[in-house]
């Protein structure tokens, strides 16, 4: 019994120490990445991509379901992105309101015959619309039968996309004007090292199998932020402000930490686990070959990235997924507990699905970093964290009741974990401020940074609870009443609290 206790406590200690160490490493790596970003920023002229005939084409894909209120200004905002070679594909996913009619009227659309190639299977696509006004010639509207998920609608968009890259976003998110310019750059600074087949064609199939030792960027992402208290006018951000409401404000803090510190740090190790469903630029060829989005998944954004990575590994091609630290997308965060709970439960369910579906990749040395680092990390420190924390809490309570707790050391460990998590969050906000001075005054920044002190008591238990609820729904296979167009999963909840004993 005694030795078991020692073993258990050592394991828990190692677990906790590893999480904290990982966050420390991520903080250092993301700092380096941001320093590099600042250096590049001091001389990079993105506008030259605008004038260039060599700019790669991008299809912007945005599904819309009952967005009648804001659809016109949102589409208009997408059409005025700063880029030359791009198209905007809006998929009306069987809206029951006037979304489609409004689009038809505002953009002078007519129905056309479109050579639609269903490379990824989706719910039937009914009609295609283009504008008779050349001013809107970049716009393509697809009317499709509701597929009960954003993934299904996005797949229809990918099928209709004409360019080699596609940007997936939500129609109600607000994008910065330079989003395409900035997000396509990682593809271009690594692209020529991408795998190109050279050598003799194989006599059996006629294909060339020798590949150059090089990396191909398959996806890029950027930071997302909460738009709840920002001043937005006709799809343009006028003034950035951290959310007034505490719940979205916690989320903003969490986003900054999970993108600026988390994803950017992982990007330095080329081990990004997930490109947010709210904003991601993908290599279309690989996305299609990997099978597109999974319309049944609850975390289709992480799922597609995992499958694309696995596809690259299966075909012995080196790949990279990059994150840029600047905020390019502003999205509406769940304003109240009901919606927030649903969102996080969905993320929890999605994460357990991913772990279940891709279990054959985990600890599979054939998948190198993906199998040995990315997925195991997500299994142990994202997926299992809420469970371990919960179990830890129970043990803790048991020990308290049986008077086995040595209060002095317990308190020291708690203070340590608390202050460490505050430090990580504060550093994330500090790095974020180094990329760009978001918000109007130092008071707003501090207002955000001080939320870190409340997080472990209020926000973190909530995340834990909803994640566990998601796991439970996954286990019981409970039918969820919300199907369509829930906001998609971004990052997983971060900075779990190790309960040390």
């Amino acid at each position: 019994m005694y030795s078991l206790k020692i073993l258990l406590s050592t394991l828990i200690f190692i677990y906790g120490a590893f999480i904290l160490l990982m966050y420390g490493i991520l903080a250092v790596l993301s700092y380096r990445s941001i320093q590099l970003f600042r250096k590049h920023n001091s001389f990079t002229d993105f506008n030259q991509l605008l004038e260039s005939p060599l700019a790669p084409g991008i299809s912007v894909i945005a599904p819309a379901f009952n967005e009648g209120l804001t659809i016109i200004s949102n589409v208009r905002s997408l059409l005025t992105l700063n880029y030359t070679r791009f198209e905007v594909i809006i998929i009306n996913d069987g809206s029951t309101d006037d979304t489609l009619n409004k689009l038809i009227k505002a953009f002078e659309l007519i129905e056309i015959e479109f050579a639609y190639h269903e490379r990824i299977k989706t719910q039937p696509v009914r009609r295609f619309f283009k504008s008779i006004n050349i001013a809107y010639e970049k716009l393509l509207v697809i009317d499709k039968i509701n597929g009960k998920s954003k993934a299904d609608a996005s797949n229809a968009g990918i099928n209709a996309a004409s360019f080699n890259y596609f940007l997936c976003t939500d129609v109600d998110s607000v994008l910065e004007k330079d989003t395409l310019l900035r997000m396509v750059k990682p593809f271009m600074t690594e692209e020529l090292r991408q795998t190109k087949e050279v050598g003799e064609p194989c006599p059996e199939c006629g294909h060339v199998h020798v590949t150059e030792d090089s990396k191909r960027v398959i996806a890029t992402g950027a930071t997302l932020r909460i738009a709840n208290s920002c001043e937005v006018e006709e799809g343009e951000i006028l003034r950035v402000r951290p959310p007034m409401n505490p719940l979205p404000r916690f989320q903003e803090m969490e986003y900054v930490r999970s993108y600026v510190l988390g994803k950017v740090g992982w990007s330095m190790m080329n081990s990004v686990p997930n490109v947010s469903g709210g904003l991601g630029l993908f290599d279309k060829e690989i996305a299609i070959k990997a099978g597109g989005y999974d319309s049944k998944s609850f975390a289709e954004d992480m799922d597609i990235v995992t499958r694309m990575s696995a596809y690259m590994m299966d075909n012995h091609q080196q790949y990279a997924i990059r994150y840029i630290p600047t905020t390019q997308c502003w999205t509406e965060g769940p304003p109240n507990m009901t919606i927030f709970g649903r969102q996080r439960t969905r993320w929890g369910r999605g994460l357990s699905e991913i772990m279940n579906m891709h279990s054959q990749l985990i600890f599979n040395p054939r998948y190198k970093k993906l199998g040995m680092l990315v997925l195991p990390y997500n299994l142990f420190f994202e997926f299992l964290a809420p469970i371990i924390e919960f179990v830890g809490l129970i043990i803790y309570l048991y020990l308290i009741f049986t008077h086995q707790v040595y209060w002095l050391y317990a308190t020291i460990l708690l203070i340590f974990a608390y202050l460490y998590s505050v430090m990580i969050t504060t550093l994330a906000i500090c790095w974020d401020q180094l990329t760009y001075r978001y918000y109007r005054s130092w008071r707003e920044v501090m207002g955000l940074a001080l939320m870190a002190y409340l997080e472990p008591f209020i926000y973190h238990p909530l995340i834990m609870f909803f994640a566990l609820r998601g796991y439970w729904f996954f286990l019981t296979g409970k039918k969820t009443p919300w199907g369509n167009m829930q906001r998609q999963g971004f990052g997983q909840p971060t900075a779990p609290f190790p309960k040390l004993k």
């Binding site: 208009r76 059409l79 005025t80 050349i134 001013a135 809107y136």
Partner: protein, 120 residues
């Protein structure tokens, strides 16, 4: 006295254009984005003799403004000024009825001549 509307989101361009076009002959007004431009046009019921516009701007791009202008009974001549040297974009502009295209950086003399020609 001819009235010219310049639609351009670069803050310097209006100052430069104002210098190039003598103020004794032209009255220059400036809108810094698509929305402002459309508002100005509506308020004055398109009472301009010439419009000089950029292509890429927030709220509404140059093409949209161009198509609005050219769909009226009395079309106003339009010059597009842009740093996008992409051939496709220039063609699109002309398809929509743009009267002239100038690539940034502009030659002052050239702008003056084109403006004069269109306002003859």
């Amino acid at each position: 006295m001819k009235k010219i509307l310049l639609i351009e989101d670069d803050e310097i361009m209006p100052k430069i254009v104002a210098r190039i076009l003598p103020s004794t002959e032209y009255r220059l007004e400036h809108a810094s984005n698509g929305k402002e431009a459309l508002q100005l046009l509506e308020e004055t019921s398109y009472a301009y003799d010439l419009i000089i516009t950029d292509i890429m701007m927030p709220y509404a791009n140059g093409f949209e403004i161009l198509s609005k202008i050219k769909h009226r009974d009395r079309p106003i001549p339009v010059i597009i000024i842009s740093n996008a040297g992409n051939e496709d974009m220039i063609m699109e502009g002309f398809k929509l009825g743009a009267d002239d295209f100038l690539k940034k950086p502009i030659l002052p003399a050239e702008l003056l001549i084109r403006v004069k020609k269109l306002l003859m």
